[in-house]
Subunit: 123 residues, 2 copies
DNA sequence: CCGACTGTCACGCAGCGTGAATGTAG
DNA sequence: TCTACATTCACGCTGCGTGACAGTCG
């Protein structure tokens, strides 16, 4: 199963909670490509790949596009030009914090509404 | 503008923060149809229509489908069979609370990640 | 009669779900 | 060899964005 500390897709799906389709899709759009393949063509993911998937998974509720997430994940991993990295991170961190705030507000509003629904249902 | 306490689409967009396209789309799929039209064809929304839009807007972060939201909104407004209403509401309220909880967790995870990003950016 | 607002198509796009038919690992 | 897991198409779906072009309101 663990050919040299590598994980195949099903294992990764279990670890991350992402679907096989989603993980494959992330390779299609070059967001999280597997570090290797078996001779027969099975995808092989390193622990670092899995970490990257977790980053993507955690950013998902903030509704960044997959393109944006690629940029962010790259910056976090120290890929690309050092200058660009800083600007990207700075920009996206601000944006991300804004989204967190708005999401918090939306969640609060949703919870209030659901409480109302509960009352209507229990009546 | 307010032909007898009715609002036209632009006003409704301002009130709710939804886009014109979104509001029109909600009519297309029969989620929030306007209560009337002007002679020339302009959509006219009552305050009750606006309230319904707000319900939909607040449920959005919970990622229900528009079909599900129609059912929920109908139940909240007391439309349809009384028996069905109760079962629908009960089912959906449970589901909604579950989604609120999961969203809270995801938000917490996102915030933690963003804090990490902030540290990486400020370094 | 002008400008701001609104109308209806209709195509485009993201992010996967969901088979179907086939091959690989062990 | 058997079977659990994996592969590649490729079409389908939701929820709008985004013009283009035309009509309405005051």
């Amino acid at each position: 199963m663990a050919t040299d500390g590598m994980h195949q897709i099903g294992e990764v799906a279990d670890l991350t909670g992402l679907s096989l389709r989603t993980i494959r899709h992330y390779e299609e759009v070059d967001l999280v490509p597997p570090s290797g393949r078996t001779a027969g063509g099975f995808r092989l993911y390193t622990d670092a790949d899995v970490d990257r998937l977790q980053v993507v998974k955690h950013l998902k509720p903030l509704r960044f596009t997959l393109d944006e997430m690629r940029t962010i994940a790259d910056a976090l991993e120290g890929r690309g030009d050092a200058e660009d990295r800083r600007t990207h991170l700075a920009t996206y961190v601000d944006e991300a914090e804004g989204r967190c705030g708005r999401l918090r507000e939306q969640l609060a509003a949703a919870e209030a509404l659901v409480a109302t629904m509960r009352r209507a249902a229990d009546r």
